[in-house]
């Protein structure tokens, strides 16, 4: 089978027509001559007309073939010789090898008893590199550098060996599908015909993301290539997995999470910090001491005894005295296990003096409990002017401008009859970039306008389109809530009782089917089964839709005691997301988008106090300061001269890396649907990847030889005729 390695240059074959075009142009330039010896010309033509024609045709053919051979050489045809022996062996090296070495240098590679698993992986990688020959191309793609600009393949195998030998584990999480995908992308930069995708992994299960079937289906399809692609070509590379024997790594205690007991942390109020410790060992419980610190100051230490395969929550209580950015760090002290990287964890918390909330009231002159959002304003900020968790600003629709949005984290719309298109755009941008939006309906809401501009058939900012307003003869009652949702954190265990007296006289029936099902979260339903309160994530933000009014026009819910904790829960949840995120994974950059004056320099430092380079860029259409990827876990500080204190960013390893569960060989090969060679030891690699077993040849040299031969032939023919 023949593969063309530079298919983009097929257009060069059009040059074959050049000799014909030149010939035709040449024929058009005719000069006239009076000639006496016509007799000889006529005699010559009578005798040699056919030969002249054939000579001309042959010369044209030779010239076209010459150009064609050069063009074909540039397309780089490669002939792949497939034999039954090769097929049986499973490894077919096609001429010069184009190898992409995908190295899973994730945090789990650091695990190990005598030495990290990465050392065994290196031996496999070096054995593989030994199987390559001069002229083979190789690229190195590291898990820790995914997302970095791709590099061109190298021919320096010895240099790569030295690089591989000096490799150290990173703190990033494994994502095998992403790594294979990056490998396929990198393979496009190669030109050698024999394509090999070599995955060097520690064989831990979590990184394979086997639950993500959609990604795997797409990846498998990409690895299979077109139906007629031969195995070992760049369209369908040979996949080789190099994984050391999966030793039992069952001695690992890890802090896998730090959580707050509320969505919104207010200054001066105690907050619960829940540290989750997991024991991935299989035998016996493990004892450890969990130490918690806030901004580096220890706030307490508590013992934890975690059963084998179990988890334990260790709760600390801390009062954040002032508003600002905090970092909570939890660590296992005096503890040693197979993977030290997950023995500590950090959480960035933004403590708010109050969350700025903008209420856009559908009434013309809203005041007090009047208007569309009077009850909501009273629920969130009952005593304006005094400190509270919410700082509410209430305006009418006429006062609403896009520029107002940048100062608020939560916006509530109360029964608005209409919104200008510019405002709709501004609200969509606000939500997508992390804002929280609460939409209340009512008698002034225009069904057609809302569906057309706000919902846009499920593509707008509204969680879902509306069907029609309903006024059932018997008022509906709120019935079921989504238990455990942060919105209902203010309700006790008897939450059902809180809704019994509330009646919904009118509401809009929601067309939930037109929302992308899984994204729509129904928080509160009525006794007739219709949704009353739904939530949907849009971009980085959240939108909550109340199917009825937020005042007493359609429901007496605002008159119930449950209304206050409900609305506070909703507003708190909507305002709890700090965007851009400050809790990061290794490899993520710092993104700070509240840049008010780009001319004033900001600075940042890593956990050891060393400065980090910052650049000015953009994030979701806003001016932002960005750092380079943060590769090590810990707390990073960003100093904004406009703010009194630093902003803290927490980088922690992915909890999934702590499990260290080995993946079976069968699972690995099944994930890739066969066509995979799996080696566990250098001897297996040597036995199967002997560089002498090269089965195919590149034909470009022959094309050039052919072109050279044709050039001589053309010269000879031309000289003979001259």
């Amino acid at each position: 089978m023949i593969e063309f390695l530079n298919p983009l240059l097929w257009g060069g074959l059009a040059a074959v027509s050049a000799p014909v075009i030149i010939h035709l142009l040449h024929r058009r330039k005719v000069k006239q001559v009076d000639w006496g010896a016509m007799r000889f010309l006529l005699e010559m033509l009578a005798k040699r007309r056919r030969r002249l024609f054939l000579d001309e045709l042959l010369l044209l053919l030779v010239r076209a073939l010459l150009v064609g051979c050069v063009a074909l050489a540039m397309v780089r045809p490669a002939f792949h010789h497939r034999t039954a022996e090769n097929a049986a062996r499973g490894i077919t090296r096609q001429g010069r090898t184009a190898a992409v070495l995908l190295i899973d240098d994730s945090v789990s590679c650091a695990a190990g008893r005598a030495q990290p698993v990465l050392e065994a992986m290196k031996k496999l990688g070096l054995a593989y590199l030994d199987s390559l020959a001069p002229g083979d191309e190789i690229s190195l793609v590291l898990m820790s550098q995914s997302g970095a600009p791709a590099n061109d393949p190298l021919f320096d195998i010895e240099g790569l060996k030295a690089h591989l030998a000096g490799l150290k584990p990173s703190y990033v999480a494994t994502d095998i599908p992403a790594l294979l995908d990056a490998g396929m992308n990198q393979l496009k930069r190669h030109v050698n015909p024999g394509a090999e995708l070599v995955l060097l992994t520690d064989g831990r299960k979590d990184g394979w993301r086997q639950d993500d079937k959609v990604r795997w289906d797409e990846l498998r399809q990409r690895l299979r290539g077109p139906g007629n692609a031969a195995l070992g070509t760049r369209q369908r590379p040979q996949v080789i997995i190099l994984a050391p024997d999966a030793a039992a790594l069952d001695d690992n205690l890890a802090i896998i999470d730090i959580a707050l007991d509320r969505t919104l942390v207010a200054a001066g109020r105690p907050a619960g910090l829940r540290v989750v410790v997991a024991n991935y060992g299989k035998q016996g419980g493990r004892q450890a001491t969990v130490q918690a610190a806030v901004n580096g100051e220890v706030i307490g230490s508590k013992p934890a005894e975690v059963p084998a395969g179990g988890r334990q929550d260790v709760v600390f209580t801390h009062t954040f005295e002032t508003a600002g950015s905090y970092a909570v760090q939890a660590s296992l002290v005096n503890h040693h296990d197979l993977l030290p990287a997950d023995d500590s964890r950090a959480l960035s918390i933004q403590v708010e003096a109050s969350v700025p909330v903008l209420l856009v009231d559908g009434a013309n002159s809203p005041a007090g409990l009047q208007g569309k959002l009077g009850f909501l304003a009273a629920a969130l900020d009952p005593d304006p002017g005094s400190p509270g968790p919410f700082k509410v600003s209430r305006i009418s629709l006429a006062q609403f401008t896009p520029s107002l949005l940048q100062d608020y984290r939560v916006v509530a719309l109360g029964d608005l009859p209409i919104l200008e298109p510019a405002m709709v755009d501004a609200l969509e941008r606000f939500v997508v970039s992390g804002g929280g939006l609460l939409v209340g309906l009512g008698p002034d809401s225009d069904l057609a306008l809302i569906n057309r501009y706000w919902a846009r058939n499920g593509e707008g900012f509204l969680p879902c389109p509306l069907q029609r307003p309903l006024s059932p003869p018997k008022p509906a009652l709120p019935a079921a809530i989504s238990l455990g949702h942060p919105v209902f954190s203010g309700f006790g265990s008897k939450s059902d009782e809180a809704w019994k007296a509330a009646k919904v006289r009118s509401y809009f029936k929601l067309d939930a089917a037109k929302a992308k099902g899984a994204e729509l979260d129904v928080l509160l339903t009525m006794d007739n089964g219709d949704a009353l309160l739904v939530e949907r994530r849009r971009g980085l933000g959240l939108v909550t839709l109340m199917a009825t009014s937020l005042n007493a026009d359609w429901t007496d819910l605002p008159l119930q005691a449950a209304f206050v904790p409900l609305m506070r829960g909703v507003a708190g949840h909507l305002g709890s997301f700090v965007m851009p995120p400050r809790n990061l994974l290794p490899g993520d950059p710092i993104i700070y988008a509240r840049v008010k004056d780009p001319s004033k320099p900001m600075s940042a430092e890593d956990p050891s106090g060393k400065p980090i380079k910052l650049t000015l860029g953009s994030w979701e259409g806003r001016t932002a300061v960005l750092s380079e990827p943060l590769m090590e876990p810990g707390v990073y500080l960003l100093h904004d001269p406009q703010l009194p204190g630093p902003i803290r960013y927490a980088v922690s390893v992915a909890p999934a890396e702590s499990a260290l569960l080995p993946i079976a060989d069968r699972e690995m090969t099944q994930s890739l649907e066969g066509g995979v060679s799996l080696f566990h030891s250098p001897t297996q690699i040597v036995a199967n990847l002997d560089p002498a077993r090269r089965q195919s040849v590149e034909l470009w040299k022959w094309c050039l030889f052919g072109a050279l031969g044709l050039m001589f032939l053309e010269g000879w023919m031309t000289r003979r005729e001259a």
């Binding site: 006239q32 000639w35 006496g36 010309l41 001309e56």
Partner: protein, 292 residues
């Protein structure tokens, strides 16, 4: 410049400017060129010598024997007035010329020069101008007035129709009843077989034949490059050809033609001289006069 001027320049001035030795050589070549082919009309006494066995007794001088009783053989040379016919080809192809003159112009000058030289040594010279047929015919004469008549006729000739010398030569052969010399001046762009047959016929009619082939240098080299449309001078169809590509084939055909002519002339005992129009006329004359 008239033909007379040309003859004056090419023959009298040039030959006159030759060194004495060279001129004598030319003249000596000229002298006795036309050794008589028949006897009797003009016999010039040269002297006596002693009889030797085998001598023809008819040449014994009986008067000397009667007077002195010696056997002397009477020696003499017989010379006759040569009757030469100059046949000039005026076909269309003779109108070609890549140098400063056409082949016809060159041929006219050559004809005039030969005529002059022959009349100067007392021979009779006639002229035939022809293409497919005889266009001008002047019977042989040996006076200078006749030469002027010949030159005037030559000046009137112009390139005409196709080349077809064979029937013309056959017709001329029929008109020539006495032995003589036929000088054929042509580019020979004719069927060589028919031409050679006609020459053979002339030879059969007891005519000494000499052939001057007039050619343009480009007709040998064929220097045309790229696509060229060749327009024939004898009403042939036009041809569009790539000069570079057909050159070798053309040259081969040309060489074959020349080869055939030369071998045919050699077989017929006809002396053939190829004259290139870029050559000086007098060098051609010297070469031609050196013929044996």
């Amino acid at each position: 410049m008239t033909l007379l001027d040309k003859v004056h320049r090419e023959v009298i001035e040039r030959l006159g400017n030759l060194s004495v030795t060279a001129r004598q050589a030319v003249e000596s070549v000229l002298a006795g060129q036309h050794r008589s082919v028949r006897r009797g009309l003009s016999v010039e006494f040269a002297g006596h010598r002693q009889y030797q066995a085998g001598d023809d007794l008819r040449h014994l001088d009986w008067l000397v024997y009667a007077r002195s009783d010696r056997y002397d053989i009477r020696q003499y040379e017989e010379e006759t007035k040569l009757r030469a016919t100059l046949i000039l080809d005026t076909s269309g192809s003779m109108g070609y010329g890549s140098t400063r003159q056409t082949k016809l112009a060159y041929a006219q000058a050559l004809t005039a020069a030969l005529g002059f030289l022959m009349i100067r040594q007392g021979d009779a010279v006639g002229l035939v101008a022809c293409d497919t047929a005889i266009r001008h015919f002047i019977p042989p004469g040996s006076t200078m007035a006749h030469l002027l008549n010949v030159l005037a006729t030559l000046e009137q000739t112009a390139p005409g129709n196709e080349t077809s010398l064979a029937p013309v030569l056959d017709e001329i052969a029929g008109r020539l009843n006495r032995r003589g010399l036929v000088i054929l001046i042509t580019d020979t762009f004719d069927d060589p077989r028919a031409l050679l047959n006609s020459i053979q016929f002339l030879r059969h009619r007891k005519q000494e034949v000499r052939l001057f082939q007039i050619l343009d240098p480009q007709e040998r080299t064929f220097p045309f490059q790229g696509m060229t449309e060749f327009v024939g001078l004898e009403h042939e169809p036009r041809l569009k050809l790539d000069g570079d590509r057909v050159r070798e084939h053309y040259r081969q055909i040309f060489q074959d033609h020349q080869q055939r002519l030369q071998s045919g002339c050699h077989a017929a005992g006809v002396q053939m001289e190829t004259c290139w129009t870029h050559e000086e006329l007098f060098t051609v004359l010297i070469r031609a006069l050196a013929w044996k």
